[in-house]
Symmetry: C2
Subunit: 338 residues, 2 copies
């Protein structure tokens, strides 16, 4: 395997000391401009890795932003990433991304990789079960800014950009009730994930506010996959549900289509609502009532906040908790009153 | 800003020479085991960055795989990434991802970032207009393996894993013709992208084989977005199209729904086909005929090939061009014979 070029190799080639090479590459003024140029030229021609090079090391900047997300397989997350890149590209930053796969150990491993890759700042949506602390200390210690988004760690006052999930869930459940649903099921994800827990709270609060009873079996905890939606449909048919609020659109879509296959009329027999305003919500029949979750906007906001912090325009910690607006989008899947 | 810890700082703390520190961190046998341990302990406590540390530097391994893709906003790509991670996680590798946004300059910038982050190997699906050479020389020079997938550079014999796009497009167009379509439109992407160019060829070959005329206006070149599908629907209605083959499912879905809104019956009036077997293809009404594109499998294959190369089990270059199977999935959007 090709051997990594070190400052000792460069020193040997030029018959000078390694410390002079190091100083030159770090733009130390003890080395003359001429010698520095000679050393940089040799380092470049020998393929010495540029991340240890003068300007960046001196400035402690890699011009790289790290992004850690639970999974990349959602329309929402791809919108967030597009929003981030629309800001970081213009500012000359590179974005590197990794997924934690909802696994806390993998999140810690991702954090190490990002740290070793010398990211200037980090954007994180945490994995299920993450406390937002373990693995993050290396960033805190070096004052490398970390901004959480969408899924922020529970109970910590750390810089974060989220939506009011509890209220959005309350509004969409209230809407299903207004349309006549009385036995509503909520298909949700793991309750250690803040956004799902909060949506569950909002769902329950809306039932309570309308004087409707709540039974634990109305809460269907799944991995929110396509298959989970189909499985939930069978349960909902058995238990004579007349309303479904799913915590994402794809799961709502597969559940609704399965009930349609079983002969249920939507929205007459069962009223449906999802969450995210994904592409799929606008293209199924009937179109799905949902919460418009501003992924692209959120991406722009978090990237801009992080870059402003890095350029000392504003401090992330001065107003750490930012809540963005979401909105109820009513479509044909729920819009029926007997 | 926090100053980066250098070997000189460690040397000063321990009152030894910087070259001894460097040798110790590189596990050079000139330094006694005891001294090495003392130096590593000090380096760790001072927060010296671990990517320059002993084992990895000596082995030239970062245990990181880089992935560069045009865009992350497709079901296909998220499936590929899941497949890759299912292999790299088990092998103890981290995956870092960046998108080129279909921009050749951004691709080159991503390549530099990946190189400076010392990836052990690289998986790439190229941007529109990329020649697969510019920017890649730094990897070739250092013998860091690069494996292309899905979109391989045109006309180069470089390690790649793809499907036979030409034949898949031929088969799906032939099917639309068999179902009675005579005036078929193909909604496609930028023709500098290999996969779209190949699908266009297959589309044309199927018309030719059936003795159907081809007019340039049957080719609708777009960005394959949701909006492009809606715009294409208007054109297709005007030109009395009776068949549509779109190069992805989301564009096919929005086009089909727009024609439905205009009163066309699917598949009686217009037969539809997409590409990718995305979630959306199974959940629209009628369900969409498509090509099942094995994203998860492709991800597993490319990750395994790259790791096998890195562990010297097999050489990427010994059988560089791998073609995976795809299959025609016939659903209600096309399955109609008058």
């Amino acid at each position: 395997m090709h051997k990594e070029v070190t400052i000792y190799d460069i020193a040997e080639k030029l018959s000078i000391s390694a410390s002079t090479v190091s100083r030159a590459l770090n733009a130390n003024s003890l080395v003359s401009k001429k010698t520095q140029q000679k050393i940089i030229a040799m380092a470049t021609s020998m393929g010495y890795r540029s991340n240890t090079f003068a300007a960046n090391l001196r400035m402690q900047r890699s011009n790289t932003i790290g992004l850690i997300v639970p999974r990349l397989n959602s329309y929402f997350m791809s919108e967030v990433i597009s929003g981030i890149e629309s800001v970081t590209n213009d500012a000359g930053y590179n974005l590197i991304i990794s997924q934690s796969m909802e696994n806390v150990d993998k999140e810690i491993s991702n954090l190490k990789t990002m740290f070793n890759n010398r990211v200037d700042g980090l954007l994180v949506s945490v994995a299920a079960g993450s406390n937002g602390l373990t693995g993050f200390d290396i960033f805190r210690d070096r004052k490398i800014p970390v901004l959480f988004f969408d899924r922020a760690p529970h109970g910590l006052t750390v810089p974060s950009v989220t939506i009011d999930n509890e209220n959005a869930a309350f509004l969409i459940t209230q809407h299903l009730i207004e349309m006549g649903a009385k036995n509503i099921f909520h298909i949700t994800g793991h309750q250690s994930v803040s956004v799902y827990k909060e949506r569950t709270s909002g769902f329950k609060r809306a039932l309570l506010a309308a004087g409707l009873p709540f039974n634990e079996n109305q809460l269907i905890v799944t991995d929110l996959s396509e298959k989970a939606g189909i499985a939930a449909a069978k349960l909902i048919a058995e238990l004579k549900g007349d309303g479904v609020f799913a915590a994402n659109d794809s799961c709502a879509a597969t559940c609704m289509n399965e009930l349609k296959l079983q002969g249920f009329k939507i929205p007459q027999d069962v009223k449906f609502a999802g969450f995210n305003n994904d592409l799929i919500s606008r293209n199924i029949d009937p179109a799905l009532t949902t919460i418009n979750y501003p992924g692209f906007e959120m991406g722009k906001v978090i990237a801009a906040k992080l870059l402003d912090h890095l350029s000392h325009k504003s401090d992330l910690h001065s107003s750490p908790l930012i809540t963005m607006k979401s909105e109820l989008v009513i479509r044909a899947s729920s819009n029926y009153k007997p």
